[in-house]
Symmetry: C2
Subunit: 323 residues, 2 copies
């Protein structure tokens, strides 16, 4: 992998990567195999620490460093119980970039930056993008309503969110939600993003640590098969299955947030996405899953994006990135 | 206005218009003044018949014909009580193009086409796009979750819907939802659309028949100020106000669909959008309203789109339209 070729794109500059393509740090799907494969292919790979005990995360970081000499990141959801230990681990093990999410950007940005770590915060609104910028983060991921997993209450879609955040902020904006190929990367850049983060597309990759049954369910899913639900607790977009239907029925019957929380129980994301229990587990995935038809190696996903971006004419525009 | 300059774009060819920019046929906002202004500026103006008695619609069509010699259309929501009379009016008065919505494309497509009328159906899913194509429509409007007014239950956003519909259908696809300027028009074309329909942007136009208080509320609104609600009845995206909050509270307290329908009552859209009662009326608008900052003449909206599309580099791409 050669050095970054394009110095005009601030996302490439910030992370010292070749392509401004970021792999989301999805729980149970984003271990060192996926993160290192994406980084080795010229994008930015991210280890998703939200599903890891502290010792697991440390082991994953070490393995990722062995598998790539290129930059990678760790995503840390700030509401996670082990957040303090995770923060210490990325500092101790000199992880160059941290993506924080699901919490306040004020919590750890200063501490991480004082250790020379580049910090990105994931937001779903202009309000939190501005709060993140004020907290000193280096970039934001602006994630639309169509994205999988946990999501914002405003339900702002990528089409509406990206221009709003790009207009409000001076720091680079990375688009997320509904992006899976070179055309959608290009569309997001025209709307004002300087990079794109893809989650669902990388869940259905060979290196993803998701259970093969979940990967197969993702590429077999169709239109209308996901819903953003559990707004009474923390909004999350999931694939329809027995668990989703049980939650929906309970809601229709007037269940309280506590009752919904009890149905959801513990460990359902692991059960579904990692252990492959497609009916009793929680299957977090984005709307764009309906367009995914195959499980590919991470390097092929990236080269496909580059080719389709070129084919769509992205290099002819005055954008901050040319592939 | 010169004749259409570009014969490669099927939306321009189909409607014999200069720019593939369509003004949505919004209830209470889209009368002959707006429709004729848009058509005279090179786009396709649409009279929204959903808020009109049969004699009003006939009068509006006649006035529109006096105000422009260029093609315009009428939007007919198929669940409207006066639908049979509206269909007869567009046939009798030789309206060249009809957009149908909120109902089955099988109901009237054959009848309209037997009278030489071009028919477009509004859909929010691939399933209904294919059903529309099979029914013989000439094009579909694919409308994402972020759009104002009535909307689909699948909640598929424009980013995810347009590529899916464009891939599934052979007929031209017109994108709607989250589009307000040349950048978003270009993004939608990269995603596979051949034209774009804008609703909210034209609500906030000088020629819109919306009450000035509603127009002012639209351009003053911000992020998170609209919600797609009333999924128990017919899903509709509306601006937050007293009526919205009353409906939300009733839902939280377990109101039945019948009780919600009673709160909504009759004539609330007219009260809000046409009479300007901003708290008791129903204010239908899209998420993109948060980005609108001014009320402009329709011709300026279109020339702004053309200019920003050019500036974004749209003409350099191999798309089916160059401005």
């Amino acid at each position: 992998m050669s050095a970054p070729e394009n110095t005009k794109n601030r996302v490439c500059d910030l992370f010292s990567i070749k392509y401004p393509i970021i792999q989301g740090g999805m729980v149970w799907c984003a271990g060192w195999e996926l993160a290192s494969a994406v980084s080795n292919a010229g994008g930015l790979g991210i280890i998703g620490s939200g599903s890891m005990y502290p010792e697991i995360l440390r082991d994953q970081i070490k393995k990722c460093k062995e598998a790539t000499s290129l930059p990678f990141a760790v995503n840390i959801p700030l509401l996670y119980p082990a957040v303090q230990e995770h923060i210490q681990s990325v500092i101790d093990l000199e992880v160059p970039i941290v993506f924080t999410s699901a919490g306040s950007p004020n919590s750890f940005t200063s501490k991480l930056k004082s250790h020379g770590i580049t910090v990105v915060h994931v937001v779903s609104s202009v309000k939190f993008a501005l709060k993140s910028e004020a907290a000193g983060v280096d970039a934001v991921v602006a994630e639309g309503f169509e994205a999988g997993g946990h999501n914002g209450r405003e339900e702002t879609t990528t089409m509406c969110l990206i221009p709003s955040v790009a207009k409000a902020c001076s720091i680079p904006v990375i688009a997320a939600g509904g992006i899976s190929d070179g055309k959608s990367v290009l569309a997001s850049m025209i709307l004002g993003a300087e990079g794109a983060q893809l989650g669902s597309r990388f869940v259905a990759s060979e290196e993803s640590s998701a259970h093969i049954s979940f990967k197969n369910a993702v590429v077999a899913s169709g239109e209308g098969d996901t819903t953003l639900t559990l707004k009474e607790l923390t909004p999350v977009r999931m694939l329809h299955n027995d668990l989703f239907r049980e939650l929906s029925k309970a809601k229709e019957n007037g269940a309280t947030p506590e009752q919904l929380s009890e149905i959801l129980g513990k460990g359902k994301a692991k059960k579904g996405m990692f252990e492959g229990d497609l009916e009793k587990g929680e299957l977090e995935i984005g709307q764009i899953a309906a367009l995914l038809k195959n499980i590919l190696p991470a390097s092929e996903i990236i080269s496909d994006i580059v080719q389709s971006y070129r084919k769509a004419g992205g290099n002819k525009l005055g954008l901050r990135f040319k592939f």
